[in-house]
Symmetry: C2
Subunit: 205 residues, 2 copies
DNA sequence: ATTATCTATAGATCTATAGATAATGC
DNA sequence: ATTATCTATAGATCTATAGATAATGC
């Protein structure tokens, strides 16, 4: 066997692992890690419970796999923030991407929120080793923009928190938003307009 | 027995129910409803498990009691928003109160967030019957302020969401905030300054 | 030959109750 | 007499495995 013990997965392997992860994302994101059961995941995936455990080492393995997949996706928009771009446009684009992610990947947002809410037992190492440097780097970029007078004075750290909070709110608190807006079909557009206006007013020098 | 079957609780009743609710708030807010166990609550309360069930009908009874206590506290700042006050000052005062609550009652914030995240199985009726009318009423107040030119044009609904999101973020995502700010002791003050500036810039006509 | 799936169940964990005993208030 | 507490355990739920059988790929 040439490279290590790496066996390339068969077609059915890929398919079933995918089915399981998708089902598990549903279940974990709505019930939390402890609240989720293998029965629910198996049912949602359309596979038997022992068959789930044929593809994964256990409940925790599935959860960890989901979180690892998520973290890359989750930090990607921030990575993309371009120091050489036009300051305000870069920030507004970032806000817009985060808001679209809240609409398109609400389960991922809730999975992450649930994990942090519970004290981040599985992602604290990632926060410290990966997100922290990225956060500092992008705070420095924003500070540069402020110093050059391209943005109004703002605390970069709390600006980023405000962006995360306002955008993810639409995924994490979707049930509440839905009730209070009476299922308004325009809510995503209205939210986008509101956040665009808010951060524009905040940051225009 | 004069009024109904209401027996006034003894001193020890009050004390132990209080101990249990405080312990349960700790446990439910960090582990979620399903993740919490009576063992953990009993241990945290310093009572035996059957003794917990002597004071409450069961795990769900404790959870419901906590949520009911919470909901009143939680909507109080919004109730207080005074239509006859000075528009911007009223909003900024509301923001400040919400932020202080995130600092002083983080467990309550997380309990509520967890409940909404899981689809609000126990508080959806409350959202529709109590919060909804209050939300509409206060949106109308803000709209009046905008119409009178006392506030810059803003979507009242999404303004309120932004206030909730940005303030509660410091409680619900405390672990992440703490890591990224490296335990900065000034973070609450900095957050207050940032949010004050942000909503001032957004809302000043 | 290896991969995939199923039935049956072991073993752990949790909520809740039964039933006895101790403490407290008239 | 009533309130409060304890030990022991029933009964339900869940994760995970054992062991047998079916399907698939050389």
């Amino acid at each position: 066997m040439p490279d290590g013990d790496v066996k390339k997965p068969s077609r059915i392997q890929r398919r079933n692992r995918g089915l399981i992860l998708d089902a598990a994302l549903d279940v974990f994101s709505t019930h939390g890690y402890r609240g989720a059961t293998l029965d629910q995941i198996a049912e949602a995936a359309g596979l038997s419970k022992p068959n789930i455990l044929y593809y994964f080492d256990g409940k925790e393995d599935i959860h960890v796999t989901l979180l690892n997949q998520l973290l890359g996706t989750w930090q990607d928009p921030l990575v993309t923030l371009n120091p050489d771009g036009e300051a305000l446009a870069e920030i507004l684009c970032y806000v817009r991407r985060k808001l679209d992610m809240a609409r398109d990947l609400p389960r991922e947002s809730r999975l992450f929120a649930g994990e942090i809410l519970r004290g981040a037992p599985r992602v604290t190492p990632y926060l410290a080793s990966d997100l922290q440097p990225l956060f500092d780097e992008k705070c420095a970029v924003i500070k540069t923009w402020v110093d050059k007078g391209q943005l109004a004075p703002v605390d970069p750290r709390h600006l980023i928190f405000s962006i995360w909070a306002t955008t993810q709110h639409y995924a994490d608190f979707a049930v509440q938003v839905k009730v209070l807006l009476k299922d308004d079909p325009d809510s995503h557009k209205d939210a986008a307009r509101h956040l665009d206006a808010m951060f524009t007013r905040l940051l225009t020098p």
